[in-house]
């Protein structure tokens, strides 16, 4: 078995896998794979968006009332935090492209910090919901009033459904954040070990794509969950 094709141009990069011709093919392959994975993620969250959409149309008043019990300020803050983390992630990828290894680690650390902040705020919000007895299936009790009829209570079951979907969607999102933090930690270790250079930084780039995707999901979750008919 001769790998004569590869050997002619330049010495093979130590990260080049045996079944690729060159680093370019390898990087393009990994990038396409990541994008396809993000497609599966879109469809994965899509199932929940579908459920959300249908019940929101069906139980609009109850959903609106339930949505207003969530503190929109925390949600807005978290949106900002996540957007900033996306910015630092983009900067991290840029450093990787330019081979600035130290700065890469710094930006990755910042990204992790903002990611952890997001999760912290989320935990605080969850705890508030627990205090207010808004956890479905766990002594749920919602005493909100119907929009436009302050004397009339909303339908408990339907507000409970809002919170079911709220927890399912934000919980699944938070799980993705946690996985993202783990991947980020891996990147930091790998870049300290000097695994990346200007010709090989595919993991940084792909994990960056993943992180931005998680951000995009939240960009939609924020108005859909926090801002139903808020006045």
């Amino acid at each position: 078995m001769s790998d004569s094709h590869v050997a002619v141009a330049e010495p093979a990069h130590r990260e080049l896998r045996h079944h690729f011709v060159d680093m370019e093919q390898q990087a393009n392959t990994a990038s396409l794979g990541m994008w396809l994975f993000l497609v599966t993620e879109i469809m994965f969250f899509g199932g929940m968006f579908c459920a959300y959409l249908i019940y929101r149309l069906k139980y609009f008043n109850d959903f609106a009332a339930a949505s207003q019990s969530i503190d929109v300020r925390w949600g807005a803050l978290n949106t900002a935090v996540l957007l900033v983390s996306s910015f630092t992630m983009a900067m991290a990828v840029r450093c990787a492209q330019l081979g600035k290894q130290k700065l890469l680690v710094v930006f990755l650390l910042f990204t992790m910090l903002f990611g952890a902040t997001f999760l912290g705020v989320k935990a605080k919000e969850y705890y508030d919901k627990y205090e207010e007895h808004h956890i479905p299936g766990l002594n749920f009790n919602f005493d909100g009033k119907l929009l436009g009829h302050p004397d009339y209570p909303v339908n408990q079951r339907h507000t409970e459904m809002f919170f079911s979907i709220y927890f399912a969607m934000t919980g699944m999102h938070a799980l993705h954040m946690i996985i993202g933090l783990g991947l980020m930690a891996y990147l930091i270790i790998a870049s300290i070990q000097g695994k990346f250079d200007t010709r090989y930084y595919t993991p940084v780039e792909n994990i960056g794509l993943y992180w931005h995707f998680v951000d995009v999901v939240w960009i939609y979750l924020f108005p859909l969950l926090y801002l139903i008919s808020r006045k």
Binding site: N61, L146, L147, G148, H149, Y152, N155, R157
Partner: protein
């Protein structure tokens, strides 16, 4: 009944139509099978490997491809239209059908006739009369299936499913549950007994005297206190119900819905869901307070409230709306 049937009995208004499409489909399929299998058989034998004979390279033919793509579409369109017409009729029950309430639960069918007769796993119907089944389930999804009538409808918890038919042939037919519903799914069977009108009448008259369903509903309507708000003189806190059934109802948020069985049901169980324009959402929910049977009786009663002669249906509700000021708007 040891004989093996190769064709189901045909005992309802749907059977001839469904059988018609089915036979049409079988004929078309049979022709297709003969063509395809014949072609495979002939070509594979005629062009079997022979010494010295080389295969001829053929790229394909756009004309052929287009022909055998487009030609089937005409048949498909015919299948679709014929099937769709039958289906559309199946989903639009006629006026004046006798309305039978069916409550499914694991693993039995409870049936209540408008005249008040109750049956379990048996349904008596007369030949030649339209029968509309208003069905709901107390637990899981079931499916009401009468092969001899060629009709089937899933029965869901939490809402009414509608099915209608007109029996054409006296006899006893299978009733099956066709949606898997747990341990005794295959035991959730019964009989449909189709009788001549006179036999059916004597069946109705036999047995203990029954209170008609609407009358039971009227009693519940009074006992549950519905009558204090839903007064018939448009002075109550709730809308007048006379003549509401089957008519469009204007809602507070600007939408209009048709007051069908499911609307009446929802209004009793979840009164806040669709508030009639001009009224306040003051009605308490009856979720968990009344049984499916009581609910059926109430629905039957509301439906029986037809306006007295000279008063056009739905006029009361429409008149009541403008005089009460609209309170907030739901967005």
């Amino acid at each position: 009944m040891g004989n093996t049937p190769f064709w189901p009995e045909s005992a309802s208004n749907w059977a001839p139509g469904v059988d018609g499409v089915y036979i049409f489909l079988i004929l078309v399929s049979a022709v297709m099978c003969v063509l395809i299998f014949g072609a495979v058989g002939i070509l594979s034998v005629k062009y079997r490997r022979k010494p010295g004979v080389q295969p001829t390279a053929i790229e394909g033919s756009h004309l052929l491809e287009i022909t055998w793509s487009v030609l089937p579409m005409f048949f498909f369109l015919a299948f679709f239209l014929w099937g769709a017409i039958i289906y559309f009729h199946e989903r639009t029950p006629p006026q004046g059908a006798s309305e039978v309430y069916v409550v499914a639960k694991q693993w039995m069918w409870k049936i209540e006739h408008p005249e008040g007769q109750r049956e379990i796993n048996t349904l008596h119907v007369p030949v030649g009369k339209d029968v509309k089944l208003i069905m709901t389930s107390m637990d899981v999804i079931h499916s009401f299936y009468i092969p001899a009538f060629r009709i089937k409808q899933d029965v869901l918890p939490g809402r009414y499913s509608i099915l209608w038919f007109r029996a054409t042939q006296a006899g006893t037919y299978h009733l099956f549950c066709a949606e898997y519903c747990g341990t005794q799914h295959s035991g959730m069977i019964g009989s449909i007994i189709v009788q001549s009108p006179s036999e059916y009448q004597s069946w109705l008259n036999g047995g203990s005297s029954n209170t008609p369903l609407a009358q039971t509903g009227e009693k519940a309507f009074a006992e549950l206190g519905c009558v204090t708000c839903h007064r018939s003189d448009a002075q109550g806190r709730g809308p007048v119900l006379t003549g509401v059934y089957g008519k469009p109802v204007a809602l507070e948020d600007g939408r209009t819905v048709i007051a069908d069985e499911n609307y009446v049901r929802e209004s009793i169980l979840d009164p806040g869901a669709k508030i009639v324009a001009g009224y306040k959402p003051v009605m308490p929910t009856f979720q968990g307070i009344i049984s499916e049977e009581q609910l059926a009786a109430l629905v039957a009663y509301v439906k029986s409230l037809t306006p007295a002669a000279g008063q056009p249906a739905g006029a009361v509700a429409a008149k009541a709306a403008p005089q009460t000021s609209k309170t907030g708007k739901v967005q």
